[in-house]
């Protein structure tokens, strides 16, 4: 059974058809990357999965349970977690306090400090624990937010452009984090532009275009697909509809 499944998911804003009949299935334990040119509908799909938007039609299943009507926090409590594109950390609080707020309901006060320490090490943020989150570097903010997301021990981690604005070294370190998390059993769905990162972590890649699933497969298969290269270069003619959901 897939851990996450969207069935014929549609979202329209007024006349705009932003998400068009998307069927997506994530197997437990995989790292799945979502790519596509700007405006392909990646962010909207994320928001639909998280429950920030209600779909116009279609349904979303999490571990076999229909969560289409659930509020965001209810989805989180079932084992999802998200890192936003723009870090949503609490800037006026310290790094440690950020993690405390994320974790306080999941640990006894005694165990909390130790767990936060472990997490800070994992995030390469141990030296920064006392700093105000707003004063961190961009990459560190991204890590802190990843840390808040994974502190919930989710079964499914959603990452929206986790490496945006990072140096190549930071990007690589982030990729290693994702691989370690995955090795511990976490399923990951990431929206990402950085193809080096995708190559580093992805088991499977889905290409979105004009709100539809355009292609899907291993990273090598996708890179080899000429039509994918075409849409990134803006060559795909509008009438060139994909034949089916699976390339």
């Amino acid at each position: 059974m897939p851990i996450l499944e969207t069935r014929a998911l549609n979202k329209r804003f007024g006349g705009l058809h932003v998400t068009n009949n998307v069927d997506l299935a994530l197997e437990a334990g995989e790292v799945h990357c979502l790519i596509g040119p700007n405006g392909a509908g990646k962010s909207t799909l994320f928001r639909l999965i998280l429950g920030e938007h209600a779909p116009s039609s279609g349904s979303i299943l999490f571990a076999g349970e229909d969560i289409t009507a659930f509020k965001p926090f209810q989805r989180i409590r079932r084992g999802m977690s998200v890192k936003f594109q723009v870090p949503g950390i609490f800037k006026a609080l310290s790094v440690r306090q950020n993690l405390e707020i994320a974790m306080q309901h999941h640990y006894e006060p005694a165990g909390l400090a130790a767990e936060i320490g472990r997490l800070l090490d994992f995030l390469n943020l141990a030296p920064e624990a006392g700093r105000l989150a707003g004063n961190l570097s961009h990459g560190q903010k991204q890590w802190l937010e990843i840390g808040m997301a994974i502190s919930l021990k989710p079964r499914l981690l959603l990452l929206d452009e986790p490496t945006a604005g990072m140096s190549p070294e930071e990007t690589h370190a982030t990729g290693e984090m994702v691989k370690r998390l995955n090795a511990e059993g976490m399923t990951v769905l990431a929206v990402e532009h950085d193809m080096a990162f995708v190559r580093q972590v992805a088991h499977k890649v889905t290409v979105l275009h004009l709100g539809q699933v355009f292609a899907q497969g291993s990273i090598d298969a996708i890179v080899a697909d000429e039509r994918v290269a075409d849409i990134y270069l803006g060559k795909a003619p509008d009438h060139a509809k994909p034949e089916g959901a699976h390339a």
Binding site: F13, G14, G15, L16
Partner: protein
């Protein structure tokens, strides 16, 4: 009582309520709706316009010119207030509540100290006319006409002039507008002045029909906020339909159950509209259009 008389009287009452709501609200719609500044001194800009209008009329100026002067002076005071106070508060809209409340205290009591507790009125021009068994004030029709003219003027200003387009761009994405070479500080200044000037215009227009005291602005405040909140952020698309809807509510409730329920009806309408349309009528319309 024939149907024509009844229909006219209902229309007249609606138009009267509509004009009051539009004129009270349009200045606030610019300042609160567009700039997000909660201007509790809105009523004092209205008072300023009224006082200038009446003083100029007493000094011998014809009423229409006096009203224009009232609007102008309010606008200039608006520029001053924006430069000295409001400019520093754009990033903290909630603090504008405290600052503008302070301004309103200064204006009300300052006027009392400088000009005394009351000003003699100028009388309402144009007399009355008769329809069926009722006589009506001609000037109320002028007010209705002025309200419509203000709405049309605002529509043209914000959709067809360079300033309007620039203002909307600045207020939606300030850094983008700045990057495109717009003097955003000037735009904010002018927008605030426009709002203050419109408030002054409302004061000038209503000055002949009202008691002139330093606290006269408070009688406009509730209607103004209610209309703007129901309308939402867009000056034209918000204020006009909101005033229309609220005028129906107010005129109907007042005529059936009296003034108290007219007022309570307004306040309940705002609560219900916000619950159903959290971004006001214009938010709803714009989203439908998109």
């Amino acid at each position: 009582m024939d149907v024509g008389t009844l229909a006219f009287s209902a229309l007249y009452q609606f138009g009267d309520a509509f004009a009051f709501l539009v004129l009270s609200a349009c200045g606030l719609a610019v300042i609160f709706g567009m700039m997000g500044v909660i201007n509790l001194a809105h009523g004092e800009f209205i008072m300023c316009g009224a006082y200038v209008t009446v003083s100029a009329t007493h000094a011998g100026l014809p009423l229409p010119l006096s009203i224009a002067l009232g609007a102008l002076v309010s606008g200039l005071v608006g520029v001053l207030v924006e430069r000295v106070v409001i400019r520093h508060l754009y990033t903290r809209p909630l603090d504008t509540i405290v600052a503008t409340w302070g301004l309103s205290l200064i204006a009300t009591q300052g006027t009392l100290i400088l000009l005394g507790s009351t000003l003699a009125g100028v009388g309402t021009p144009f007399g009355s006319f008769q329809v069926g068994g009722y006589s009506y004030s001609v000037y109320r029709l002028v007010l209705f006409g002025a309200a419509v003219a203000v709405l049309v003027g605002l529509y043209v200003l914000f959709n067809a002039t360079r300033f309007g387009v620039m203002a909307r761009a600045t207020i939606q994405v300030p850094h983008m507008a700045a990057a495109l070479g717009v003097d955003t500080r000037l735009v904010y200044s002018l927008t605030f002045a426009l709002g203050a000037g419109l408030a002054g215009l409302a004061g000038g227009l209503y000055a002949p029909t009202m008691t002139l005291v330093p606290t006269m602005g408070t009688t406009f405040i509730m209607e103004a906020f209610v209309t703007v909140v129901v309308g939402g952020a867009d000056v034209f698309l918000g204020t006009a339909p909101a005033a229309a809807v609220l005028a129906v509510v107010k005129a109907t409730m007042t005529s059936l159950y009296g003034q108290l329920f007219g007022q309570i009806g307004l306040l309940l309408a705002v609560i219900i509209v916000i619950r159903v349309l959290p971004r006001g009528i214009s938010g709803f319309l714009l989203r439908e259009r998109a």
